[in-house]
C-alpha cells in the first residue's frame, strides 16, 4: 500500500541517525580495533603494525587473567543480587498491601525514593561508599559498634583494604546504585499483569510466593531477560566504581582489578601502551557480545501472552 511515499519516508528517517552513528560510534570502534594490531604509544602520528602480538601477550598475561576472573565474580554476584532485590521490592510494592492483591501503602513514595541512587553520579557513589566502609567514623563501623564490635575486627584491614573482601564491597556499592532502576522496570512490567490472574491464583489457594513464581515471573520474563543482559554487559564494562574504590584497581593487592581498570593502567600508567590496551578493549567487546548472546540463549523462554 502506498509504496510511493514509503521509500521517501524510510530514507529521510533512517539516514541522519545512521550518519551520526557511523561517524562517531562505528568508525571509532573500528579504529580502536585497528589500533589493537599496532604498538602505538600515543605520542606519534604514525604507528607500526605488529599483527597479533598484543593478543598473544594478553593470553600470557597473568594480571589480565586475574582481572578477567574478577569480572567473572562480579558477573555472578551483581546481576543475581540486583535483580533479585529489584524483583522482590517491585513485588512488595505492587502487591504488598493488605491481602495479596493490593499495592502497599506509600508505594508511590517508595518508588520515587528507591530510584534515587540512579541519579547520583557513579563517582560520588564510590566516594560515598569509601566513607561507609571507613574504619574511622565510617557508617559500617558505627553500626557495628552499636552491637559491640567494629569493622576492623570483623574484616581485618577493612572491607576496602582486604584483598579477600574488596571485590564484594564494591559489588555491594554497585548493587545499591542499580537496584532502583531495575525495580522501576519491573514495576512497570508488573503493572501490566492483569489483576484477575492474581485473583484467580489466590482463589486457587496460592500464596504470595506461589503466585509470584507462577503468575508474575513468567509474564515479565522478557523484561527480566533484557534486564539481565543489560546488567551483565554493564558489569563487564564497569569502570568508574571499581576505579574510585580501589585506586584504579591497585588497592588491596589488586584484589578488585577488573578488565577495564587494567586496561586503563596499561594505556596510561604502563608506558602508554595504547596498542596493547586496545587489544584488551577489543577482547572485551567480543566478550560483551558473546555474553549477551549466551545470556539470551540460556534464558530464552516462550513468551506468554495474556
Amino acid at each position: 500500500m502506498h509504496l510511493r511515499g514509503r521509500w521517501w519516508l524510510i530514507l529521510t528517517f533512517i539516514t541522519p541517525g545512521l550518519v551520526l552513528y557511523s561517524v562517531f560510534v562505528l568508525s571509532s570502534f573500528a579504529q580502536g580495533v585497528q589500533i589493537s594490531f599496532t604498538n602505538w604509544t600515543g605520542y606519534t602520528p604514525t604507528l607500526e603494525y605488529v599483527g597479533l602480538d598484543n593478543y598473544v601477550r594478553m593470553a600470557k598475561d597473568g594480571a589480565w587473567w586475574r582481572a578477567v576472573s574478577h569480572n567473572a565474580v562480579l558477573l555472578v554476584i551483581i546481576p543475581v543480587v540486583t535483580l533479585g532485590l529489584a524483583l522482590g521490592l517491585a513485588t512488595l510494592i505492587t502487591r504488598g498491601g493488605s491481602g495479596t492483591l493490593r499495592a502497599v501503602r506509600g508505594a508511590g513514595a517508595y518508588r520515587v525514593l528507591f530510584f534515587f541512587p540512579q541519579v547520583v553520579p557513579v563517582v560520588i557513589i564510590g566516594i560515598m561508599f569509601s566513607y561507609v566502609y571507613a574504619s574511622r567514623g565510617g557508617l559500617l563501623d558505627g553500626l557495628l559498634r552499636l552491637v559491640g564490635t567494629d569493622v576492623l575486627s570483623v574484616v581485618p584491614n577493612g572491607p576496602l583494604g582486604n584483598p579477600r573482601t574488596i571485590l564484594l564491597a564494591i559489588a555491594l556499592a554497585a548493587v545499591w546504585s542499580s537496584v532502583g532502576f531495575y525495580m522501576v522496570l519491573f514495576l512497570s512490567a508488573m503493572s501490566g499483569v492483569p489483576q484477575e490472574l492474581y485473583e484467580a491464583a489466590s482463589l486457587d489457594g496460592a500464596g504470595r510466593l506461589r503466585s509470584f513464581a507462577h503468575v508474575t515471573l513468567p509474564l515479565i520474563w522478557s523484561h527480566a531477560q533484557t534486564a539481565l543482559i543489560y546488567l551483565a554487559i554493564g558489569t563487564m564494562d564497569s569502570y568508574a566504581l571499581v576505579a574510585v574504590m580501589s585506586m584504579t584497581g591497585t588497592a588491596a593487592d589488586s584484589g578488585a582489578d577488573v578488565m577495564s581498570t587494567y586496561l586503563y593502567r596499561t594505556a596510561f600508567s604502563f608506558n602508554s601502551q595504547f596498542g596493547y590496551a586496545s587489544a584488551m578493549g577489543t577482547v572485551m567487546m567480543l566478550g560483551s557480545v558473546a555474553l549477551a548472546l549466551v545470556t539470551f540463549r540460556l534464558t530464552k523462554r516462550e513468551e506468554l501472552e495474556y
Binding site: A63, Q118, A134, A243, T248, S254, F268
Partner: protein, 484 residues
Amino acid sequence: MSVENCPTPVPSSHSSSFHRPTRRGLLGLAGALGAAGLSACATSGAPGAGAAAGSSDGGGAETSPENPFGIAGGELKAFVFDGGGGVPHLDLTEKLLEEKHPDLAADIVRTEDLSTLQPQFVNGTPPDLFQNSGAGALDITSLVANSQLASLEDLMAAPSWDDPEITVEESLNPGVREAGTVDGTLVGLNTVQYAWALWHDAALLEEKGWEAPTTWDELMSLSAEIKDEGIFPFAFTGQHANYPEEGLLQPLVAKIGGQEVWKSIDNLEEGAWQQDAVREAAEALLQLRTDELILPGVAQMTHIQSQTAWLNHEAMFIPVGAWLENEMKSAIPEGFRMTAAALPSPDPALADLTPNNPGSGWYVPEGAANAPAALEFLRAMLSKESARNYAELSNSVTMVAGAHEDQQLSEAFTTVTEMIERSNAVEPWQVVKYPTWYPAMAEETRAALISLLLDDLDVDGFLSRCQKAADRTAADDAIAKQTR
C-alpha cells in the same frame, strides 16, 4: 546512552616517585585520552587541536652572559601543572623574565591536566615549555623514545642568573642531572627537592619525655613505649603503596646495604631482590606488623586520611615527603610541631641518608617554536630570588644551592632543609629508577610490600614476588630496558 554504569574514570595511584602525589587520575584519563588518533585513519588531516602551540622564534639575537640564548622578543607558551593552589611563585619568575626581556611575551597556562598536551605532540605543535606533574603527567620515556624532547645541555652550560661566573649546573645541588636524564640525554629540569622523611610531632615527644630515635634499635624500643601509652608508633597510607616503598623500604635497604643495592635492582640484575640487604630490610619491616606497631585501618586510608590520623596523635611516625606541611596546612592543630627526620637505620653511619628526589620536572619539546625563551625562563626560575620565593609560598625546598640558607619559614621547613643538608653531607641520593622505567613491576613490588606490612605475606614470599616481577620484566622484550 546507558543510564547506569556510565563509565567514569577515577583517581590513579600515586605511582611516580617524582611527582607530588595527587588523586587526579580522573582528570588524567581525560587528557591522556585526549590523545589524537592515527594517521592511518581516513579522517586524518590535523586541524590544530587545543591551545595553539608556541609562536614565532624569538632567538637569533646576539648571545651574551646576560642573554645566553640570544633572545630577541617573541612569545613563550608554557603549560604548568596547577593542583588547585594556583602557581603563584611563577608570577615572580615571569616578572624577572619581563624585566630582562621586555619584548618577550610569556603566556603561562595553568592546567590540572597535562595530558591535554598529548594531541599537540601528535600534531607536531607542542608548546615551548611544560611542567610535568599531576596524574595527567605525560609519559616522558615515550616522548624521549620518539625524540620529542629537547636536550637541556645548553641550559646547564649557560651562566647562572645570579652569578655569571658559574654555570647553571654548578649553581644547583647535586642530583639534578641524574634526575633529568632519560636514556642518556638530559631532558628534564627537576627543581624541587622532594625529600622523604619520617615525620613526628616534637611537642608530643617532649611531652612524654622521649628522645627522637637515631638508630633502628632505638626506634623499636621507643615504639614499644609508645604503644604502652596507647598510641600506635606507625601510620602510612595503605592505598598509595609508593609511600611505604619510597619512605620506608628504599631508605632502609640503602642504609643496610648501600645505594648499590638499588642500582642493581634498577638494572634488573639477576637475583637483585634476593640480596641480604633487601632481606634484612624486609625482616625489619615485618616486625612492624608482628609487633602490631601499625595503626589499624591504614590499609584503607588515603594519604590525607592517614596524615589526619597522625595529626590527631593516633600515630607517632609517618613516612611522607617534604610536602606534608603544605598539604595539611589547614588541619594542623595548635602546638603541633612537625619535625622531619631521616629514617633511623641499623648502621649509624648512614643514618642521615634519606631519599631526596628532585622533582617537578620541566621539559622543552623538540618541536618548540621558541626554545631559547623556554631555556631563559628556566634560567630565571633557578635564580635565588625565584627559589626563595617558591619556598616562601610553598614551604618546599628547591635544588638551587644555598638559596634557602637563611630562610626562616616555618619550623617544619627548617627541619626539612636541615635534614636534606645532613643527607647530602653523607652522600648524594641516587634516585631509584625502576618505578619510572618499569611501572608494571613497581605495581607488583609495592603490592607485595603492602601485603608484607598489612596482610600475611612473609619475607620469603615478599622477596620471591618481587624477584618474579623483576624476572618477568627482564624477560619481556616488549618493554624497553634502561640502565644506570
